[in-house]
Each structure stands twice: as structure tokens, then as C-alpha cells.
Symmetry: C3
Subunit: 682 residues, 3 copies
């Protein structure tokens, strides 16, 4: 069974409906030759199941699934709800999503439906029930994907049914208008609601500005609507599916609490990995960070936080792009293999390539698969063969857990509030980037840990250090969790703008960092954004002058045991506290008044004693990850993302799984090269 | 009484509805400690007055006003019409403003209403009448603010009622379609109207282009609608208010004839002064000029033109910004005091800080007041205390008039026409900037004087020099006023693109500068915009080569007494006249063929003999203004906008009001420092 | 008769409706003094013909035409359908065009109507029939212009009637939904249509993305709608007009098969030539190329392809620009004459200036004519007089044919598909630019030749070399035409991305370049866009390293006679084939794997032996064209686009038509200078 910890499997996304039936068998057999044992199908094929309203047909998929079974292929079968038929959206336009102005978004793309209209949900229910009941028994089917990339094309929903559902969501949550008005601060600018009918999702307003607390609730509502939409399908599938079949979907996309979704409805999450965005023609827009395809490791860590057991449903295998945008070059020779190992290095035991053969029509004519239009073998399919052979050599890694040295904390509340708030949102991205790069370059694997009132997505105690860059929204429950972590011996690092908002995004009348002040032992005395006319800001920490960019909290120690470690340098508050430290129980808390640049994060890593788990000499260009089996066996992955050879030094004898040889001392990694080394237990 | 010339008063904007009643008394008493004697309240509180349609309540404000009176506070009470309740806009959507496409702009921001719908005007009438009748007698209330920042959030109005009102406005103005068609040049592109029903405000068109003469009328209509909307409220207030109560509103915003508004309906205008925009994160967009916060003096001069007696209703006191935009750093230590004195230096005898305490919810969570969320004293409240003490030392200045050496002429017609016209609009901004900077750096205080067919906003004769950079739209009446000014001994300076349009924005079949040609004695022989491939353009004036940028009129002297002072250099019309001079009566006229760069304006200042009113040695970084009492006492303000000390030399004995000491000879101004010097009568 | 090959004529655009009748006679007589014998009138004057619905009037134009005849003026009379009256669009809003969202585009601009609504077409039919029947007999009228600049203001049509007409167009073209679905690849993303009612032109979609094959059909439909709209009028005119009257329209604009339009409905096409866009304030946006006004020669070559016999209906004669955009400086002294000769040099025997006198109102107040508002003679009218005198000296050129050495092939299908496709559209512009500049600088005149299944717009055999930069869409018929050309001795040069799409924009399952592979003898083995992280790419051709930018096809010779001429250098496919060569029949084919930079095109010119038709020494700054009479007389035009003198050397004795002198050896062309030299037959 997929992701059972016994085998790393390869798959591909296949669209039999795009090809002449005469190609099917050949395709499936050639897949097998390339090591592909799993295919995902049917996610955009509603019309094949239900060509007219209420008329169902199974000829197509029955025929295909039988052939798949015959060819020994395992199938992940999808619900086709991401692309409602034209007959449906034309007859029932209320199923369409709408933009902020209420303009419907029409047929011609995908995900143009909303997730709340009773009409759409009924159609979804009916088609999923039909599919679940008819196909579950098919032996080829090993699991189910619900819908496709929910919230990928948009996270903006404004259909009439969305407004109504939002109203119901708020009514359920707040009970009375009085509660709602208080929580949403509607007394400001006379926005008080006196009837539920006055309440809407964001609409067209002057300056595109809306009540920020309502905007936060709007995001919570969108996440909830998406979870319910997937949940509706998951519950139907669970009624009919065979026990050994899994349920998943593919992500990760915005304004969606993927942790809650996965916990409530999925067996595991899968990720769609397209590292080549880093090299696309509009890269500047899409990938602000500068580690290029290595940035995908950031997203894989996010996925691992959601679903420690996860697969890659779509792994890039060729040049990417729609006809109108996202134009990407061909992967360089070696990158397909490198990216496959990147996924595995981060914990994926299933890697399914997108797609088998490039579609010859439609919007994704340039989202190339393994094969080109001409169906001839090519250098990418040759590379896949080599990759497959290599993966067979590392099957011992299957099921091994990712080993992290540090945790970066995050929470949906602060993130979603920050989407609408220039005073903390942009800081978070910068600090995440600073920590990611610094940890990568120091070869320190890390995990993301999600925090909510219900607890953390992974046990915090297993980490020595936890960095929570800007926990803007803070609650009693979360402050207590952080306190427990520290008291039990953990080291917590906080950045500026912490704890100054409550769960609704309001600012309590407390000295900042609010509920975290009892933990840090200090409060914010003065603060400022750094404007365009300001000098660059630093803090003097010991003998070093370390960047303290973007925003500066001037800290004031309030308890005797809170000590000042560093002071500002550069602006009018020169010499005032920038960083404090306090021991609490067995642990310690650092409160930092600014944003973490990469250099800043590196300084913390150094001073906190965070070290790479291996004492090897690795260049900055090479990523290190480690996966550990329950039995203690450990596997180090080294990934060279550059087109240059890289020198490494491994001062111990370790076995290379790919070559079978023992590696010791200095060595050279080839361009885009990969090493998987079995290292002794620690 | 406020602005009675007897006392400079401090105030603040206070929102009792945002805070627990338990805080009110403490707030009011602490204000008093900080020198604050006046508060403005209620401008966004419609629901407190009328929680449901037709149901009025006065409990809230009665209670608060009684407490205010008890604490010795003087109150400016507002009409709450800037933010209609949700119950109103939901039930009567016709009261909403609409965008160009007709999409309503909805609840969630402020000023989302239109100013023409009979339904809205009736609701406004009713609530204002209730307020005026109920509260006028309250002893705490010293005056009234109508609405809030009219035309701030938008100057674009397209509700169905706006279209209808525009039609009525045109019918009243033009009487017949024939008149309208002729004035609007509708024969061009076959735009002739054959029925009033065919007439609309601008709507969605190809290339977002509309008849430019109709666009000019649209702006006149919008100004008129705003004046009528404020006038409706003013007339109700006048029926009920006590005689000693004043009526004002706060500005200045676009597409509004503030001169007419103030003359017809207000006792005086107040200005909202936010110098910190100059240091904001999106400063590049918001403040193209480079004198940063000193640019606010430009706006204060504009306000003074509208209302020689004026106050500051909102004076920035902390970091600024909404949650989504306009992010501004904290004012540097000293800037709060500096900006307060900047307002007073320009004539304001009332300065009211925005706001007492930063709101803890809503869109303006980051538009910080004097106090932060935590309500603790901070460095800004400490600075206010010092500022208050300083103001008490300069009370002798109260009521003194601003003294200007020169007038810059402007008119709404050319300005509004230029908003839609790339061939003169952008020139105006550049020339205004050039003159402002050159005059500032030469320490020559100036006034703006507004010109209309009815006359000028201040007597032109009191100025020796008047600069009218680009009076594109010219009428017989205005040409006559300019002629009188010159004949009586004034010096008039004109730039390019003068006088080539009539009152409807059409171009008369006359040699340019049209109606001004009899005054200048020259006409435009050739002309060109300077394109991207052209050389930089200069004029040779005596021995100097002076910028003549953007647009060049090649002038031709037509009368014997018109002499050529300078010729072009740089392009194909090298050697042709760029500047002419003519004596007319007791005065003289300069016609300049280009735009005024700062260096160009400086050359004119030098050659026209414009001099600073004091013979002091002042650095460019320091602004000088002078206020003079009716009894001849004069007070010079020196303002240092930089974070560096500035050296000055005052070669006469003058008394410093702030220190009480006598200043003479060289001295140093501290960073962000302020001096107020009593100087001998001139 | 105009364009009868006997005389080069001058004209102007005149708008008697804009001026007082008292000016008419003077205007017409002054035109005659300036050599103007032809005027175009009436294209925006529907209301003058039909002031109310169904009420016609001819007083205005009868009076004017009689006066024109009396003054000896020949008139091109227009149908006024580009600007429907306000009474029409207000009463029948279904005649308006709409934007993508369905918002109507309203009165206030021009071309705001759609071309499909039965109501509008009936109004058009009626007014054109009235005009044709009433005015055809008038002796002043020599020809007809239909509408004005069709598809100039927009090529986006989304009115309800457009959606319906598109549906009808597809039904007619595809017959069945099954055919349509297959051709449009609707199985992708489940876009299958199951009823004709589900079909629409593009509408609002997520990411503004629609089915690309439908988008191609949408462009074909828009072209067809425009042709039918003009055709409707042409057919009415043909019923009534005198035989000697011609029918034309003015262009060229986008998404319109001008070749088909001209062939089916017009006697010839006219072009609107505004070279001054090259010097406008927003030039960066409008003219990406760097030859400035010389780029207009590119458009004149396009016009010549559409209509070898053509005129200039609007030739720029002054500064240009609307009130809101396209601001252009005054033409430099000499440019009006230069641009007139540019048009003639490229084959135009009729040049009509836009416009006689600058309009004093409306959107085009700044689209200056020969005269300014003041109606005084000026330097431009003086220049026109000299130009007229010069043209009289070159009347021997009238009727001579343009002589080209090379053909650049193009087709509407690839161009329209490329508008929606980032993977080949942008390449075409770059390569066209590269070839245009390289040919210009080598002084090699060229023609554009349009290719379609029906054949080529000019006989290909008359060219030695044909360059078809990126024929993405390829059909059997076109491949056969290219093969014939080569077999008969032609040299064909192809760039990357050739032949990989079929007529619907789908990618056939063939090795690229698909249907062209049998001709090139090679196929594409690998390919990539060059991303931002890639090195600049070159090919090594002999001893030279030549740019091979943007996109790289790695070629693989499949036939023994296909030889590799050059290999790549710069990226991972270093050393692999970039350019192949093959002899086919009497000719040869070059397949090049990349885009043609200017330097690349220059290398091809050099190696292909393309040479200037004259062996003169000409600087890069000077353009050369040659026109040849049927009797063998040849005239060379030399045009200096710079403001600097240019040295030339003509090593043979030739007669200068403008001076009457014989030129031989070295000489100097004045800034913006023009030479017309009679050269010996070749």
C-alpha cells in the first residue's frame, strides 16, 4: 500500500481521455518500463461520468480501469469536481464563483465554481456518490484524490451563496449581533450591524478597504468552506470505499487550514512540486527568494508539518507553463532526478510525475510531461530510467522519518491577518526567508510546527530550539503552550510585533507583547517602522553589528531576570535594548525587536549553539537532510542544486546507497548531483 | 472663542464611543494636563444618534457632553454624515456612490454614500436637524464640524442620482441643448445630444476617454454637489446653533472649490495636517516632491488662501497608516513639536492632534494617536507637554497675520481641466514645485491667490510680484483683473500654455496666449512638447543658461514695447525668443515660453528683485515665516526640518519668545528645532 | 483618377462641420495653393445625415459639396458609421460594444458600437443606403471611405449580439458539436460543450485564461465580423456609386484579415501614417523598436502586402495626441516632408494630410493639423508648400512598382494564435524586428508576403530569398507552397517553433517542425525557453559566434542531405545543432533553432548573399527604396531620418529629380533630407 513505509513508489498523472484508445496499452506498458507503478486519473472528467444532467455513464472508465489492472497499474482515482460541465454552469449559474464586484467567473478555466451553493453541493454529492459506489470495488483503484488543488486558482469567493454562507457562519460563531459587533470593532467608522442581512463578505469598497477583523473572519470562513466541501466528498467516499483505499488531495494552497483538513478528512496530504517556477520567465514575481529551486524544500517542510506521511502527487518532469503565463525553460539534465530526490529527502515515499505525455491541446499545452507531443523517447525519459534505477537502490529509506534540529513556529491566524495588514504581514515573509536560508546554509534540517489553541502540529518538546518570528495574534492557550515548552527546557526566539493582537485581530490595551510579556519579562517602550528616509538599522550584540531591519521594537526589561543582550545602532534610539534574554524554568526566551534577516538568523544560530547534525564540511550550495528509521538506521541526503561540481568532506566512513561504495574524506559532487549516505546511529 | 485672535489653543480628536466609559474622565483630565482644552467628537457616530431608521437616541452624547463640560473641555461637535449606518445603505442602496461602471461602493469603508440622492439628502437633513436642535444648547459645544474630509476617499461619483443631478445641473446652466452642444464641442466625433436623457456623467468608454469639455463640467458639478451637500447641513445648523458657535469642516481635498464653500457656508476652514506622509513606505507615490515634511507648508499656504483665519483639525501625533496602506514610521523626537509650530508659523491658532489614543480595532489601528494601545505615558506625550509649555510662551503671536512677499496665482478651472489634459496639467505641477522650492530656499514667504471671474481670493495689489505659471483657461474678466494689477504697478510672470482655452476648455481661434496677448504684447509663433528624443532645453538670459523644460512656446513680439529678454538654446528653434518683457502702466509683464524648474524660478526671483523680508543668513534647510500683529509687532518663525544642527546668523538683536533671551549674531538651531523671534517693525 | 498610376496627389482631411461656414471657401482655396486637390470628409457626421431616427437631411453636405466642386476639389466621401449618434445608442443600447465583463462601452469616444447587432446593422444599412443613393451622383465625389479605422480603438468585442454571432459562426464552421469539441480540445479540463447555448466568446474567467483554441476562433470571428460589416457597406455603395468612384477604407489595425478584406470588398487600402508616435512621451510603450520614425516603413511594407496599390489617407502633419495620451512633440522642420517622401518611397501615390486645421474642441484638440487654432500660416504650411513643389518634380515616379530583394513571410493564424501564446507570440515580434533592422541597415528593400491555404499575397517566385521566422501554425497546403517555392529555386529560412501547431492551434503528435520536417530534413530533438538564469545563447557558424536568443530548438538531421551548419554555444546543449541546411530541388532550406536578433539576421544576409540592389556607399542612417516603372525606369529614394548630415557615395552618374542635377561620387544629404535619383535599368 502506498506510503506504508515499505517502498518508495513512482507514479504519473495520466489522462486517457486526451488520447486515442489505441495508445493506452502502449502508454501503460511504457510507464512500467520506466518504473511507474501508480497513475492518477479522472480529476477533470466530469462529463465522462455524467455527460448530461442526471445521466451517468461508466463505459469509459470501466474500460480504462480494466486495462490498467491488466497492465498491473495501481490507480489513484479522482472526484471530478474541480471542473463542472458547461451544461451545469450554463443552466445553474448560481454555482459559479464571483469576483469582488459580483461578476461571475465563467467556464473556460478550472475551479470556477463556488463551494457553498446548495445546487453545486447537490451535484457534487450526486456525482461523487455515483463514482464512489460504482468504482470502489475496482481492483485497480488503490486510493482517492478529492477534487484538485483546492484554492489554487483563487482564494477569493464572492458568489451570492458565499455571502449567505458567511452570514450563517458568523451567526453560528457569534450568536448575537452584539457579540459580532464587539468582536469586529464595528463601532469604528459607524460600521455597526443591526441586522444579519446587512452582513456580507468583502465587496467593492472605496480604496478596496474593508473592516480588517471581518476580513480575518472571511479568510477563516473560506478555509472552513473548503474543508466542508472536501469533507462532504470524503464522507461519501468513506461510505463506499474499500478499507485499504486511502483518501487524499493535492496541495498546498492558501487560505486553507491544511492541518485541520488533513486531520479531519484525509489519510495523508500530497504535494504538487514544481521547482522549475524558480527559473521561469516571470520568476521575479513568483519566487521572491533567491535559493531558486531549493526553495521548494521550504514548501516540502510545510507539507511535512501538515502530513508527516506524505507523497508528491505532481512532480515536475518538463518545461512548465500555460499558454499565457508561467513560462519555464526545460529542466536541465539532472534536475528531474535532483527534484525527485529532493522530495524523497524531505520525507515523500511516493513521487508521481506530472504528466505522462504533454497534452496537445488546451491551456496546458506547454505544461510538458515526460514525453513530448511526438511520443518519442527523449532525454527526460532516459533520465527517469536512471532515476528509477537509483531509487531502487535507496529503498531502505522507505518509511524513515525526517530528522529536524529546530522548529519554526507558525499559525494560520497571524498569517491570514497579515495578508490584510502591512504592519506585520510583510515582516513574516522576510523573517521566514531569513531563517530558511540561514538554516539551509548551516545544514541544519528544521520542521515547521503549527500552533493553535488546540495545540501544536508536532510535539514541541522534541525540539531544542523553537523560533516564532512574529506571533502577532496571541491567546492565553497559546501563551501557555509556549510557556510549558520553555519551562521544560526549550529555547524560544521571538521577533518584533509579537502578541499585540487578540484572536479577532484587535489590539488589547496591554503593553506589547501582550500575553507574551509575562514570558519575555520585557515590554515594548517605543516602536517604529523603518521608513525610506531612515538609516539601516543594526543591533550591537557582543562585538558584532547585526541587521535589525524593517521594524524596531525598543524593549524595556520589566523583571530583574530579564537582561539586555543587544542594543540598537543606526537611528534615534541608539543604545536602547534590541534583544533581551530571560531564563524561565529549565529553558530560556529571547525577545528580539526586529525582523530576522538571513545574517540575523545566522547570528542566532551561532549563539544558540544550533549545529548541523553531521560534522561534515559541506558547501553552502548543497542541501543536507536526514531520514531515520525506527530501528535507528540513518540516511543523509546531499543535494547539489548548482550546475557546478561541489567539494565535500565526510570525515567518517559512510556507505553510499547509490554507488554501494564507502565514502570517506574529500569528494566531489557532480552538478545537480545527489548522494544518499547511510550514517551511523547517533 | 476659538480663532478669535486672542489665544493659540490645542485640541485633540476623541472617540468616546471606542472606549469603556470608565476611561472617559481620566482621559479628559489627562488631556487638560497636556494643555488640551478642545476636543472634536462624533463625526462617525450616526448609529449612536439614530440606531434604527427614525428612532433617535441622545443618551450617549448627553452623558459624554455633561462630563466634558464638568472637566472644562470645549467641544467641537460633528454631523455624522460621512458614515451612513449599515441599516441605511442596506435598505436604500440608491444612497451609495458608484464607480465608473456603475458598481456600487459598499459599506466597510467611509464616505461610500453619494451626495445627490434625494433619499440620502433626506436622511442627512433629518439627522442633522435632530442633532442641531437637541445639542446646540449644550454649554460644552463651541462649534460644529460638518461631515468629515469631503472628497477625501474619492472624487469620482457615478451613482444613478449623480447622473440625474448632472443632467439637471447642465440644464440649469445651459438652458438649451443647442447651447450645451456648442459649448461642449459635441459636433466632434458626432457626440451631439438631441435629448437631455442622452446626457450622463462619464461612464465606461473605450480607452477610458470622454469628451474633455464634459469632463470639466463634471468636475464643476462634483464641486457644486459637495458644496450643496455641506450647505444643506450648514443651513440647518445655522437655524439652531447659538450665535457664538462656529461652523467649519476639515480639508483640503480635490475637485472642490474650497474658496466658494468657505465663503458661502463656513466661518473658517480647518486643515488636516499629516506631514509624516513624507516619510511613509509608499512615499514615492504620495509625495513626488523632495522637501519632505516641509512640503506641508505648500498645503498650509493653500489653506490660508481659502481661509486666512484657519485651524488644524487633525495634526499628526504618531506613526500613521491604515492596515493596508500608507504605512509611516514613528515621528522622530522633536517632529511632533516641529509640525505643531509649522502649522502656527503659517497662521493656524488652533492645533488639534489626531488622536488622543490609538484605536485598538478597525482600519486605523495604525493611525496612532498621542497614546498607544497600552495607555501609558510615552515619549510623544512627553513631547506634547514640552510643546504646550512652548506655545504658552508665544501667545503674543495669536491673531497675527501671515506676511507674504509674493503671490502665486491659481484657478480651479485650469487645474480641473488639467486633470484630464496631458498638454497642460502636468506642467502646472512642475512649475508649482519649482516656485515653491525656490521661494522656500530663498526664505521668501508667499501666498496663493485664487482667481475667478468674480475676482481674487486676496487683494492682488498687496503683492509686488504675482506668478501665474500656466493660466490655460482665460476669460475677459480675468484678463482684465490681471491688466489692472499690472497697470497699478504689479509685476506679472506668466509661463507657457497660457490663455489658449476658454471657460469650457475650447481653444479660441486666436494666436496664443489668446486674451492675454494684449497684455504680453507677444504671440506664440511655434510650440512643442519636448519629446524623449529631444535635447534638454535652456534659455540664454543675459550670461546665464537657465532650464526651460517640458514645453516650449516660441514667442514673437508683436508690439514695439515688447522686448526679448532670453532666447532658446538646445533645439531647432535655437536663438528664438523664450522670454519677453513689457511695461504696462506702472507695472510689467514677463511672458516665459516654458515650465519653471526650481532653477528657473530662482533666476526669476533674482532678476525680479524678490528678497527675503529679513536680512539674515539662513541655511536652505530652514524655513522662515513671519506673522505680524495689527499693532505692528512681528514674529519670525524659523523651522529646522532636518535631524542636523543648522547654523544661522541674525545680524540684529531680536528676542526669542521660547527662551526669553535676546538673540544676535551667529547661532545654532538644534535638530528639528524651532525659533520664534520678535523682530522690529518694518 | 486617384492611384491610376499617372499622378502623385496630395490631399487633406477636412471637417467642415467643425468650422463656421464663412471659413469654408477660404480653406478650400488655401488648400489648392498648397497643392491639395483631394479632401476626405464626413466620416464622423452621422447626425448631419440623420439628426433624428429615420429623419434624413442633406442640406449640409449638399451645400459643402457644391462649394468643393466649385473650388475644384475632389472629395473622398465617407460613411459615418464609426460614430453612431447619441439618440441611437441611448435608445438601443444593444448596439454598444461591451468589455469582457459585459459592461457596455458608452458614448463619449468613437467606435463604441458592435458589428453584429441586427439593430445596428439595420441602422448602418439605412444610413449608408441613403448616403449612397443621394450623393453618388455628385461630381465632386471621386471615391468612398467606409467607416473609419475599423478595430483601431479596440479588438475586443463582447456584446450579447457578439456572443450570438460567434455561436452562429462556429455552427456554420463546424456543423456539429462533436466536430467543435474535437477541434477545440474541450476534453481538456472538462470543457466539452453539449449544447450550442453553452458557447460564448471569452468572458470573465479566473486568471483571465480561456481555451486557447477558442481564443483563436474568437479572433477569426472578429476579423470575419469586421469584414462582413465593411462588406455590407461596400455592397450597398457598389449598387449606387458611379463606376469611376473607388471604395476604400483606412487602416491597418489588428485582428483583421486585411488581405481578405481588400480582396473581397475594396479597390485598394489606405494607410494612416503617424511616424511621430516614435517621438511621443509614451514612446517606450508604443514603439519598442529603436529605428524610431523609420519603423513606419515596416508598416508601409505591411500595407503594400495588403494592397500593392495604396494611398495614405492620414499623413501626420503636426504634433499629435489626445488630451489624455499619446502626447507627441512638433515634427522637426523637415520631418513633414521626409515622412511624405517615406510614404511615396514605399509605393503610395496619394498622400492626404491629417488634418487641415487643428480642431479647437474635443478629444483631438492636440492632434494638430497643418494649421493651428489661429489659422495663421506657419512653418509647417510653409514646409508643405516646398514639399508640394518637390513632388511635382518627381511625378515620373507615379505608378512605379516597389522593388524588393527579399520576402518576409507571415500569416494571420500564427500571429493571432501568438497573441494568446507566450511560447511563440513574443518570438515573432523579436525576429521581425531583427530582420527589419538588418535589412534596413543593409539597404535591402523587402516585401511582406502573406501566406494562407489559398496561396500567397504576392508570387513568391519573384523573390530569391524568403524568410518565415516562426510559422507556428502549418497546414498541408502551406507546406506544399513552401516546397514549391524551394524546389523552383528559392531559398527559405525558418526559425524556431515552426510547424508545431495545426490550423486550430493544437499540437500534432509529430516530431517538430511537423509538416515542415519533410522539407527541412531535420526534427527537433530537444528544446527550451531561455530562462532568466540561463547564459546568453549563441551559435557557432564558421568562425563566428552569432546570437541565438530566447528559445532554442536542438535540431537533429534526419536525412543524409541535411547538414549541420552551426552548433550551439552557451548552455547544456553546447555543440548540438542550431542550424541545418538542405538542398531541395533547385533551392535550399535553412532551419534555424532560435530567434533572429538583428545581428543574427545580418549574419544570414551576409551568408545568403543578399545584397543591396545598388552598389552605393550609404550610411546606416539612410533608408533606400527603389520604385520601377513598367518601362524599366527606376527611381531610388534615399531618406535621412536623422538631424545630422549624412555622407553618401554614388559611384555612377544618376539624375536627381528634385534638383535636376546629375549626382556622381561623394555627396552629403542634409538633415531629414530626401533624394530621388533616376537610376539606369538593371
Amino acid at each position: 500500500m502506498l506510503l506504508d513505509g515499505k517502498k518508495i513508489e513512482l507514479g504519473t498523472c495520466y489522462y486517457p481521455e486526451h488520447w486515442d484508445r489505441s495508445l493506452w496499452r502502449d502508454d501503460l506498458l511504457r510507464m512500467q518500463e520506466h518504473g511507474i507503478r501508480v497513475i492518477r486519473v479522472a480529476e477533470f472528467s466530469w462529463n465522462l461520468f455524467e455527460p448530461q444532467e442526471g445521466v451517468f455513464s461508466d463505459d469509459f472508465w470501466d474500460e480504462f480501469l480494466d486495462l490498467a489492472a491488466e497492465c498491473g497499474m495501481q490507480v489513484i482515482f479522482c472526484t471530478p469536481t474541480a471542473t463542472p460541465p458547461a451544461w451545469l454552469t450554463e443552466k445553474y449559474p448560481e454555482v459559479l464563483n464571483c469576483d469582488l464586484y459580483g461578476h461571475p467567473v465563467y467556464h473556460g478555466m478550472r475551479k470556477h465554481h463556488n463551494m457553498t451553493s446548495p445546487v453545486y453541493l447537490e451535484f457534487v454529492r450526486r456525482v461523487v456518490e455515483h463514482i464512489a459506489s460504482h468504482y470502489s470495488a475496482h481492483p485497480a483503484i488503490i486510493g482517492w484524490q478529492i477534487d484538485n488543488e483546492v484554492n489554487c486558482e483563487t482564494t477569493s469567493y464572492h458568489a451570492p451563496s458565499d455571502h449567505a454562507a458567511f452570514r450563517a457562519y458568523l451567526k453560528e460563531k457569534f450568536g448575537t449581533l452584539e457579540n459580532l459587533n464587539r468582536a469586529m470593532g464595528t463601532v469604528f467608522w459607524n460600521q455597526t450591524y443591526t441586522s444579519w442581512e446587512e452582513i456580507h463578505l468583502s465587496r467593492n469598497t472605496l480604496a478596496k478597504s474593508s473592516n480588517p477583523h471581518m476580513m480575518l473572519e472571511e479568510r477563516r470562513f473560506i478555509s472552513e468552506a473548503a474543508i466542508r466541501y472536501i469533507g462532504l466528498q470524503a464522507e461519501i467516499l468513506r461510505q463506499y470505499k474499500r478499507p485499504e483505499q486511502f483518501i487524499t488531495t493535492n496541495g498546498l494552497f492558501g487560505v486553507l487550514d491544511n492541518h485541520k483538513l488533513t486531520a479531519e478528512y484525509l489519510d495523508f496530504m500530497t504535494y504538487d512540486s514544481y521547482p522549475n517556477f524558480a527559473f521561469g520567465l516571470d520568476t521575479a514575481k513568483l519566487a521572491p527568494r533567491s535559493l531558486r529551486d531549493r526553495e521548494t524544500s521550504f514548501n516540502l517542510a510545510k507539507t511535512r508539518s501538515v502530513s508527516p506521511r506524505f507523497g508528491i502527487m505532481e512532480q515536475q518532469s518538463g518545461p512548465g507553463g500555460w499558454n499565457t503565463r508561467m513560462v519555464q525553460p526545460a529542466p536541465k539534465p539532472g534536475q528531474l532526478r535532483l527534484w525527485t530526490f529532493q522530495s524523497i529527502a524531505h520525507g515523500a515515499d511516493f513521487v508521481s510525475y506530472f504528466r505522462w505525455r504533454t497534452c496537445t491541446f488546451g491551456t496546458e499545452t506547454y505544461w510538458h510531461g515526460l514525453l513530448n507531443y511526438d511520443n518519442r523517447p527523449n532525454r527526460r525519459t532516459e533520465e527517469l530510467k536512471r532515476t528509477y534505477a537509483d531509487i531502487e537502490k535507496i529503498q531502505a529509506v522507505a518509511g524513515a522519518k525526517f530528522c529536524a534540529q529546530a522548529a519554526i513556529l507558525c499559525d494560520y491566524d497571524s498569517e491570514w491577518d497579515g495578508m490584510e495588514d502591512k504592519w506585520h504581514g510583510p515582516l513574516r515573509g522576510q523573517s521566514m526567508d531569513g531563517w530558511f536560508k540561514a538554516l539551509q546554509r548551516a545544514h541544519i534540517p528544521f520542521d515547521f510546527v503549527n500552533l493553535s489553541d488546540a495545540g501544536t502540529s508536532a510535539p514541541l518538546e522534541s525540539y531544542q530550539v523553537a523560533v516564532y518570528p512574529h506571533p502577532t495574534i496571541m491567546t492565553e492557550a497559546r501563551a501557555a503552550q509556549l510557556k510549558s515548552f520553555v519551562e521544560a527546557g526549550g529555547t524560544l526566539v521571538l521577533g518584533c510585533r509579537s502578541g499585540y493582537k487578540d484572536i479577532y485581530g484587535r489590539c488589547p490595551m496591554m503593553p506589547m507583547p501582550g500575553l507574551l510579556a509575562p514570558l519575555t519579562g520585557c515590554t515594548v517602550e517605543d516602536f517604529t517602522f523603518l521608513g525610506p528616509a531612515d538609516e539601516a538599522e543594526y543591533m550591537v550584540w557582543g562585538n558584532d553589528c547585526i541587521p535589525a531591519p524593517m521594524f524596531n521594537d525598543v524593549l524595556h526589561p520589566d523583571t530583574p531576570d530579564c537582561t539586555v543582550l543587544a542594543v540598537y545602532k543606526g537611528n534615534y534610539y541608539d543604545g536602547m535594548p534590541a534583544l533581551t534574554h530571560r531564563r524561565v524554568g529549565q529553558g530560556e526566551v529571547y525577545a528580539f525587536g526586529a525582523v530576522f534577516a538571513e545574517e540575523t538568523a545566522a547570528a542566532f544560530i551561532d549563539r544558540l549553539g544550533l549545529r548541523s547534525p553531521v560534522d561534515w564540511t559541506l558547501p553552502e550550495a548543497v542541501e543536507l537532510t536526514i531520514r531515520r528509521q525506527a530501528d535507528g538506521a540513518q540516511y543523509a541526503f546531499l543535494l547539489n542544486y548548482t550546475d557546478q561540481p561541489q567539494e565535500i568532506r565526510v570525515p567518517q566512513s559512510v556507505r553510499s546507497l547509490l554507488t554501494g561504495e564507502t565514502v570517506c574524506g574529500a569528494g566531489t559532487m557532480e552538478p545537480y548531483g545527489v548522494l544518499v549516505l547511510e550514517i551511523p546511529e547517533t
